[in-house]
């Protein structure tokens, strides 16, 4: 299967500021890719170039076989865009807005089906200005899907949502992947990326600093934590990441959990000691992310 998006050596500067310094990645058909990164990392610039809103300075880009900057109608007919902050004619009703924006697509999903898909059933004939923030965002999503697109761009789709609204949106987005849509998602929320994305790209300072599945990102990076209870630190084996005592809890920070565990359990069985409450905690994506972004912001990777 050919990739839905191929980006090679994408560069973009605004005057003296480099927004993107040679970014390359691919998104396969039917895949959900999340771009994570701090503010100013270049996420929006990258996505808006792929959507055809901005021109790249350099690099080759193919989105559904089109160059987005010159793709025109045929290109826009097959993509759906949910921008971060876009206004809409708030004096229209939900149904009127969907009808007017959907008109220009050659394929389209029936209006009622769309309204149902995003859970605005009771609001179909309500003026948009009476909707809550979350409902407006769901209308944005409906408008992005109106042309039954092959590829959907979601720029921070749940920013400002309460937890239950966010769960509902996630379920909705998962529903899209079941329809075979390719999705490019940007987000600030690590749990969102972890929950929705097949693969994650971490963008920082205009470059990709990490790429992979949520699990793979953690490997060999941030520390897992091994903890158990003990009366005191005396006689405990000294490893690279510990021991640290907090009350009766001993913790080791570990990058190679298997080796460290073997060392600890061997030590314990030799002495006939029980490691009470033995626990291994994997690094959260947040730890991984802070670790990755922290490195780049400090200007280099530790060995």
């Amino acid at each position: 299967m050919s990739p839905a998006i191929t980006v090679e050596g994408l560069t973009k500067s605004y005057g003296p500021v480099t927004a993107l310094a040679g970014v390359s990645f691919t998104v396969n058909e039917g895949e959900v890719l999340a771009i994570l990164g701090p503010n100013g990392a270049g996420k929006t610039t990258a996505v808006e170039i792929l959507e055809g809103y901005r021109r790249a300075d350099g690099g080759t880009i193919s989105v559904l076989g089109h160059d987005p900057s010159s793709g025109g109608r045929e290109f826009r007919d097959r993509i759906g865009i949910v921008l971060q902050e876009t206004g809409i004619e708030v004096v229209l009703t939900v149904r009127e807005a969907i009808d007017v924006y959907a008109r220009s697509y050659s394929r389209r999903l029936p209006t009622d089906e769309l309204i149902n898909l995003v859970g605005l059933d009771g609001k179909a004939d309500a003026r948009i200005k009476t909707l809550s923030g979350g409902q407006k965002r769901r209308l944005d999503l409906a408008l992005g899907l109106a042309g039954d697109p092959d590829l959907v761009f979601l720029d921070e789709p749940t920013t400002g949502f309460d937890p239950s609204a966010r769960r509902k949106s996630w379920a909705m987005i998962e529903g899209l992947t079941n329809l075979g849509k390719t999705i490019l998602l940007t987000t600030h929320y690590l749990d969102e990326a972890q929950h929705l994305a097949d693969r994650i790209i971490v963008l920082s300072g205009g470059s990709i600093v990490a790429e992979g599945t949520a699990d793979a990102l953690g490997e060999g990076r941030a520390f897992s934590t091994i903890s158990f209870t003990a009366e005191g630190a005396d006689g405990l084996p000294r490893l690279e990441g510990g021991p640290d005592m907090t009350g009766h809890t001993v913790t080791y920070r570990s990058t190679s959990v298997t080796t460290d565990l073997l060392e600890l359990t061997t030590w314990a069985t030799e002495r006939g000691v029980e490691l009470g409450g033995l626990e291994v905690t994997r690094p959260s994506l947040e730890d991984v992310y802070l670790d990755i972004v922290g490195e780049t912001e400090n200007g280099g990777r530790p060995s």
Partner: protein, 257 residues
């Protein structure tokens, strides 16, 4: 895409913009109510005057018709499109397959519809209440002047939008251009006794060349040709100027505060 499909899209956009217009009371007020108020006020104030059996409204209703038509095209586009750009509506539209020209055609077409409506409204009100009598002889000339005038003022409205950084300044900019221009173009008060420099100033701007021949077309005392080519020429130059500004400066992205 077939021409029929394009036409249907343009038609859809015109209807869409008309709907927005009627649901935005401020726009409807300034475009339709203001000229109506002027027509009524002035016609009542000068109600006792007459010219060989013709009332004041005979000369004033066509002037207010032009005033309303320019408000429908020029002010509506300058203000409406600026706000749509600021709110990101233009950006949203650009993300769909709707061709840019269809969007603009919808905006302009809706302005034309409002203009036709308001011209009709002025004439009907003038006829019903202030003894305006329709002159049919020069209708073709009036129509030609109307078409060129609306095209010119639509282009200039978009040019104002293109040259502004944000929408908050658009009502001031649009009315700040339009209202003084209306005075120096003799829309409210005839310039017969005005100083020479004011007359020349009026000649430079396009409104006098829209209102002048349009009013003459309904002037029962007027003899000879209605359309001086110099009127169409001046409007044409402004039309080209407006298009150049649009081509050079118009953007679909919000420009920030």
């Amino acid at each position: 895409m077939s021409p029929a499909r394009y036409l249907s899209l343009v038609w859809g956009q015109i209807r869409h913009n008309n709907r927005l217009f009627w649901r935005t009371p401020a726009a409807a007020f300034f475009t339709l109510a203001l000229p109506v108020i002027f027509l009524v006020l002035f016609s009542v104030i000068f109600g006792d005057q007459e010219w060989s059996g013709y009332s004041f409204a005979q000369f004033f209703a066509p002037a207010m018709a032009v005033f309303a038509a320019v408000s429908s095209s020029f002010s509506n586009l300058a203000i409406g499109v600026s706000y749509a750009r600021d709110q990101g509506i233009l950006k949203r539209v650009r993300g769909t397959p709707l061709p840019a020209w269809v969007y603009m055609a919808g905006r302009i077409g809706s302005g034309v519809w409002m203009a036709v409506l308001s011209v009709g409204l002025m004439f009907v009100l003038g006829w019903a209440f202030f003894d305006f009598r329709m002159v049919w002889d020069n209708l073709g000339s009036a129509l030609l002047v109307f078409v060129v005038g609306i095209a010119t003022f639509s282009a200039l409205g978009l040019a104002v939008c293109a040259s502004l950084r944000n929408a908050d300044s658009s009502p001031a900019a649009a009315n700040g251009v339009f209202l003084p221009m209306a005075f120096v173009s003799g829309i409210f008060i005839p310039l017969d006794d005005a100083p020479q420099w004011l007359v020349i100033l009026g000649d430079v701007f396009p409104l006098k060349h829209f209102a002048g021949p349009f009013r003459e077309a309904f002037d029962p005392f007027h003899e000879g040709a209605i359309i001086g080519w110099e009127h169409l020429g001046v409007m044409g130059l402004w039309l080209v100027f407006g298009m150049l500004v649009i081509t050079r400066y118009f953007t679909w992205d919000p420009r920030g505060a």
